[in-house]
Symmetry: C2
Subunit: 189 residues, 2 copies
């Protein structure tokens, strides 16, 4: 499994110790999350829309109607940012400043590639089989009309970074005796 | 409670029947979700980063380090899109085409307003009290240094829209007898 060195835009700058470019970490987050948030630039400015994704190897696939503004914009070769966040817990500290969240997030920068042919079918199968392995073959087969109405886009993972925060609160030592409960409230996944 | 008419960019175009501009729906989604995805335009293109948010009235607050690229970019008056998604279930249909997700999402367009003074403290309190009501007064008080190191941004909800999908799969009638299980798999919140 390859791990790309960080590019200028994937370099984690805030709390860089929480950043990683380890492909295994990136893939694990992508594979666990159901939804990604896709950012692109419309005429009026930035737009962020949620969508389901599936990863196959080093390709991240999203899909949607050929009529959607997002798919049309990205399919035209615009720059994109796909962000995936898993929230693991609320971190309660002695001071407001040190409150935090435990999370695992991935940010993928890139230009979408419009996918066709066998790869398009394989991506659609991957999206279905995230839900249930073996389901694709059990379904009523996809028709040509449905295929034409669906766009599938691929993003490479060359410019992907992950950021992870875990563990309890990190309080200032002088606050140790402040009488308030601290700890982590786990969140359901 | 006011409800703004949709602007050009907040108008839900794909499956408009799932879109709403009802302020009560928008606020309920914002208040339930822990994380929003903030989109802005950097020199190299779109960026989407996860952050915690809190709503007070018709203002949506996010915060972060004054050193963060996101806070600096947005605090400078750039256009933004803040998107919040609650995933409720996976919708399994007879055909791949009709698979879907049940979700409630909100998209807020706007230009961030850098918040100072009493409003900044009130926003920070709102962020803390999302976790536990009464916690703000129990914490070690915020210091001036911490205040200076924290940026708080506000977005109005004038250009907010919600989109909701609920209920079971909507299959083609001719697929009714296809022998595969269909239904909704609820997801934990």
């Amino acid at each position: 499994m390859s791990t790309s060195p960080p590019s200028e835009r994937t370099t984690v700058r805030r709390r860089p110790q929480r950043g990683t470019y380890d492909r295994a970490v990136v893939e694990a987050v992508l594979d666990e999350a159901w939804v990604s948030h896709v950012g692109f630039t419309a005429d009026h400015g930035p737009v962020v829309l949620p969508t389901m994704h599936a990863r196959v190897g080093d390709q991240l696939y999203v899909h949607g109607s050929v009529a959607s503004a997002m798919l049309r914009s990205l399919g035209g070769g615009g720059s994109a940012c796909v962000t995936v966040t898993l929230l693991d817990g609320l971190v309660l500290a002695k001071s407001a400043f040190h409150h935090s969240m435990n999370y695992r997030s991935v940010v993928v920068f890139g230009t979408a590639r419009l996918v066709e042919g066998d790869e398009k079918l394989a991506a659609m199968k991957a999206l279905i089989e995230r839900v249930e392995i073996g389901r694709w073959d059990a379904l009523r087969p996809v028709t040509d009309v449905e295929l034409r109405q669906t766009s599938v886009l691929a993003f490479g993972l060359d410019e992907a970074s992950a950021k992870v925060r875990e563990g309890g609160p990190i309080d200032d030592p002088e606050d140790d005796s402040w009488p308030v409960w601290t700890g982590v409230i786990p969140l359901p996944r």
